[in-house]
């Protein structure tokens, strides 16, 4: 927990570091009931001051609609845990095939300029839900509609540890959809943000975990997004880099229309978000004002 506490300290100090001012700590006037009636939600209760660009209640433009979303995985397990499957012979066709119903009928609507925190215990389906929102995991039923393709903040999987940081910037940038020209224009900024000027020509596998996390973050964060999903990506690197990456996230967030933040740190959720969705065992348990939802979530953990 020391790590998280430390991180929270960073967050608390961060608003003083310039920019457009602190994100609202506590929102009022927005407390939609829990449940899956999102599309029919009255569009009149605009959160006060959720973002500088907010101009009035009529400007609440929906950008993401999640409609009765179900996601299932079929997994080959050892067979033991599958109960009846344990008795079957090796070559029966259903050997240890388990279906994991990770997301069970989640519905909500996200509006422009909202920062939505996603909370829930490990394995509750948060990450699956986010991957489905960006279209990486296909839903079993239901659908996600969005004004533009949402993006996950991350690029790690595209990089090759055997290659130098410099080459990985090219590769990662192209993987994110930049042209070669754009990569060249951003290269210096990425290197200096990651603070890897002296090591950028060394293979990435020789980097410490903090260094490669910094590089990955710097590449991923170089892009502006209309709808952005940040999955626990804030907590990378040492304390100082966290502070800078947090500032960068804020910057991206202010430019992005809508941000989803998946985190286990209630402090950072409360600091950053003006709406919180609590996912429990694949079901949307509660959706609304951060303080209320976080309190209810903490109650349930006792």
């Amino acid at each position: 927990m020391a790590e998280v506490t430390n991180f929270d300290d960073m967050l608390r100090r961060e608003p003083g570091r310039g920019g457009d001012g602190p994100a609202p700590r506590h929102m009022s006037g927005q407390a939609p009931g829990a449940g899956g009636d999102a599309p029919d939600r009255p569009a009149d209760s605009a959160p006060a001051g959720s973002a500088p660009a907010q101009s009035g209640p009529s400007a609440r433009r929906p950008v993401v609609v999640v409609d009765d979303l179900h996601v299932k995985y079929k997994v080959y397990s050892s067979g033991k845990a599958a109960g009846a499957a344990a008795n079957r012979k090796l070559f029966t066709r259903t050997r240890g095939l388990r279906e994991v119903h990770a997301v069970r009928g989640v519905s909500f609507t996200a509006y422009e300029n909202e920062s939505i925190g996603i909370i829930g215990s490990n394995g509750s389906g948060k990450s699956t839900l986010m991957r489905t929102i960006v279209g990486l995991t296909p839903p079993a039923s239901g659908a996600v509609y969005a004004s533009s393709r949402p993006n996950l903040l991350g690029v790690g999987a595209a990089l090759i540890p055997d290659l130098s940081g410099d080459k990985n910037i090219t590769l990662g940038g192209l993987a994110l959809g930049y042209t070669r020209k754009e990569v060249e224009a951003l290269r210096e900024e990425i290197v200096s943000f990651a603070e890897l000027e002296d090591f950028i020509d060394l293979p990435m596998k020789t980097y410490s975990s903090g260094m490669s996390a910094r590089l990955k973050f710097a590449i991923a964060a170089s892009k502006q997004h209309e709808i952005l999903i940040v999955d626990e990506a804030l907590a990378v690197g040492d304390a100082r880099f966290r502070q800078r990456s947090e500032a960068r996230i804020r910057e991206i967030r202010e430019n992005a229309g809508t941000v989803f933040l998946v985190s286990h740190s209630m402090k950072s959720i409360l600091d950053t978000c003006n709406r919180v969705i609590w996912i429990n065992k694949g079901v949307l348990e509660m959706d609304g004002d951060p303080a209320t939802v976080v309190r209810a979530y903490k109650e349930s953990k006792k």
Binding site: P39, D40, R61, P62, V63, V64, V65, D67, D68, Y73, K74, V75, Y76, S107, T109, R131, T132, I133, V134, G135, L136, T137, P138, P139, A143, V144, Y145, A146, S147, R149, P150, N151, L152, G154, V155, G156, A157, A158, I160, D162, L163, K167, T170, L171, L174, A175, L176, G177, T179, R180, P203
Partner: protein, 282 residues
């Protein structure tokens, strides 16, 4: 009002929906730099840790050609095709392009699960990148192949240049095969277990190491079947263009062009149809 109506009224589109084929191909074309960079990076990464580095790209097929040449040279005795060393070098080097494209192409989606699940781009980029990677490795191999041909006493001719359009067609052909195998493997992982056997069977039956006319003189029907065997056609055309005293029916160019285009188009469509499927966990 349903959520779909609500979404439509607010100009929202369904996420992850498979785009129409033309716009899919356009998106894929926009990622061509990524495809090329990924192919290049993989080659560099795979050879970085070896002492001889990139040299292995040519050393490995050379050793293969030496081994197969020696064994099959002895086994076939008098039935050996003319100019046997050159015959084997051309066969082994070109077949390598096909077999690696097929086996690596088959794994291009399943073997990159993390990449597929974290970034959105047209998935066709991955199998295509694998074929590009093999094409890039073929280039130095072709250079070395021509050097071997010279050393082994084949006089250079203008028809050597015809190998270039042949490789272009062969690349289309291999891309089609890689795309089909990539999708099949997503549905059924077990295919990666059977593919090495398939490549080996094809290796021993496509006339890589023997002359079909000489070995199958007793079975003219079987020889006729080889007129429609795409891999045999590639090797025949290549040998006809490079070597003296080896000829092939001109119709092979036509046959193989048809094979390549049909397989390429079929592969692209077959792969595209399942585009929404590739991100799933299994």
């Amino acid at each position: 009002m349903t959520a779909a109506d609500f979404a439509a009224r607010n100009h929202l589109k369904r996420v992850g929906a498979r785009p129409a084929l033309p716009s899919y191909l356009k998106q894929a074309w926009a990622r061509r730099d990524f495809v090329f960079e990924l192919a290049k990076s993989r080659i560099q990464a795979s050879n970085n840790s070896n002492r001889l580095g990139m040299l292995w790209v040519v050393i490995k097929p050379t050793l293969n050609a030496l081994m197969y040449g020696a064994i099959f040279g002895i086994l076939q005795g008098a039935n050996k095709p003319e100019d046997f060393p050159v015959f084997v070098v051309i066969g082994v080097f070109l077949f390598e392009f096909f077999s690696t494209s097929m086996t690596q192409g088959a794994k291009s989606i399943t073997g990159n699960a993390a990449l597929v699940q974290s970034l959105s781009f047209p998935r066709i980029s991955l199998p295509v990148s694998t074929v590009v990677q093999n094409l890039l490795q073929l280039a130095p191999m072709l250079g070395v192949m021509f050097v071997y041909c010279l050393v082994l006493g084949t006089a250079p001719q203008w028809s050597w240049l015809l190998v270039l359009p042949l490789v272009a067609l062969f690349t289309l052909f291999n891309t089609g095969v890689a795309l089909i195998c990539a999708r099949l493997t997503v549905h059924l992982r077990d295919i990666t277990q059977i593919l090495p056997l398939v490549t080996r069977v094809l290796f021993y039956t496509s006339g890589v190491l023997f002359s079909v006319e000489k070995i199958f003189t007793a079975y003219p029907a079987l020889v006729a079947v080889y007129d429609f065997h795409p891999l045999y056609q590639v090797l025949s055309i290549a040998r006809g263009c490079i070597m003296e005293g080896h000829s092939f029916p001109a119709a092979y160019w036509l046959f193989f062009s048809i094979w390549s285009v049909v397989l390429f188009v079929a592969g692209v469509v077959f792969f595209w149809v399942a585009e929404e499927r590739y991100g799933r966990g299994n």
